[in-house]
Symmetry: C2
Subunit: 243 residues, 2 copies
DNA sequence: ACCTGAACACCGTTCAAGT
DNA sequence: ACCTGAACACCGTTCAAGT
């Protein structure tokens, strides 16, 4: 599925099962699995070629045989995480789209620390996602989106969905930036009822539960009902496009 | 406005205008300005404390007096870029929201390379944005969003807006990852008309113009009409919330 | 084919010191 | 108050070598 680079495929077979000295029995799959394990348990900043190698009991350079560039491994990680997105099956496009968006979010929620890798950069390994894209286009056509607005509708759903979720699970400042959460709480506590009446009134319901005004991300403070609402907003908005 | 850390404010004044040897006449503002300049012209990967110091003709450590941590400077950069977002003035909430979203995007478009800094991590320096948040809450109330859905509506707009734009201007792979764009073109060229009929039909209109299927970002291929559509989708969706 | 080892050109940051 | 200089613990990656 995620085959790394294509370089190391096929053993040749002539040396059979024998282990040789100086061989760590590495494989693209083992490296990938360890990478995800490290990211999940120790965070994104622990995901370096050197720390990964140490975790695998191997020289940093050993990894480069399976993944020539760090970015290749990043791509594989993203592809693996997104391969968890099982396609939805609902008959009506609205139910389908709701399901689609929730399944995407669920896949990220399983590996929240990879979110910055998905949101922050253009990922080239697209081959596995073609089915996902085709399905979305099909349902948008069913919904009645006219052909000349299809690309815009696709981008709206995809950009909104991926954007919201990667925001929700955005990187929290490292422990080195200590005290930034208390500074945030201070700002929130000091909101002036005259200058910001609505914000003042909503403060307790918004703090640490809404974008910009939080100090934890979706891994510890998931925005479940906000994402539900976002889904409804998108569905109603797409429906309005079909006039 | 963006005062860095608050540590270096006030000269004391007793040494007047005299320059001393070993002093580079640095200031938080000068460092910030140079940082944005470097990011804009040389890209985000050129934004390191050491390269920045070299550009300012100074020791790397000189910067740390004005910004104790790199993250403090990152925060200042983000605050500065977002301070460009002038508030909208339209009387009707729909026009206002459309304007709001476009002004946010325009601010990012002026400094596209900072987008990953905004999308990828929780930013604590929120003080300057309180007006923006208050304004949005006010307009959402005007729109008729009921109080018990206000937080969700706020998160939908904010998450969608920031998410879409940071996705649009996401980091393009470094030149070291050469050939990834041609691999992408190859994938697109090889789309099977049987397996992916809609995608096949839309290919020429989607390639390099839609999420996942592009090799340039919004800095060179802006998604103007997709963002317009996204704005309409959000407005219609919010309207549907007000039942 | 697959891995080790040494080396290069980078990072952010601490600590002691200068003026 | 503001900056230099040396040093530490990291990075990704290249290159030559081993088996």
């Amino acid at each position: 599925m995620a085959d790394g680079t294509g370089t190391g495929v096929g053993d040749g077979g002539h040396d059979g099962m024998r282990k040789r000295a100086g061989r760590a029995e590495l494989s693209p799959e083992k490296v990938l699995a360890k990478a995800i394990e490290v990211i999940d348990s120790d965070g994104l900043e622990a995901f370096s070629m050197r720390q990964l190698a140490k975790g695998l009991g191997v020289t940093p350079m050993a990894l480069y045989w399976h993944y020539p560039k760090r970015h290749d491994l990043v791509r594989a990680v993203v592809a693996e995480v997104l391969s968890d997105v099982v396609p939805a099956h609902a008959p009506h496009w609205e139910d389908w789209l709701r399901d689609y968006m929730h399944r995407f979010r669920a896949a990220i929620a399983r590996h929240p620390n990879v979110a910055p890798l998905i949101g922050g950069q253009l990922i080239s390994n697209v081959s596995g996602n073609l089915d996902m894209i085709e399905a979305l286009l099909t349902r948008l056509e069913e919904a009645g989106v006219p052909e000349h607005r299809m690309v815009q509708a696709y981008n709206s759903v995809m950009g909104g969905m991926v954007g919201f979720v990667t925001q929700e699970f955005a990187l929290v400042p490292a422990q080195s930036d200590a005290g930034w959460d208390s500074r945030m709480k201070e700002v929130l506590g000091g909101i002036d009822a005259e200058r910001h009446p609505h914000l003042h009134a909503m403060r307790s319901r918004m703090e640490n539960r809404s974008f910009i005004l939080r100090w934890e991300n979706g891994a510890t403070k998931p925005m479940d009902d906000s994402f539900d609402t976002f889904t409804e907003v998108m569905i109603a908005g797409i429906r309005a496009l079909t006039v």
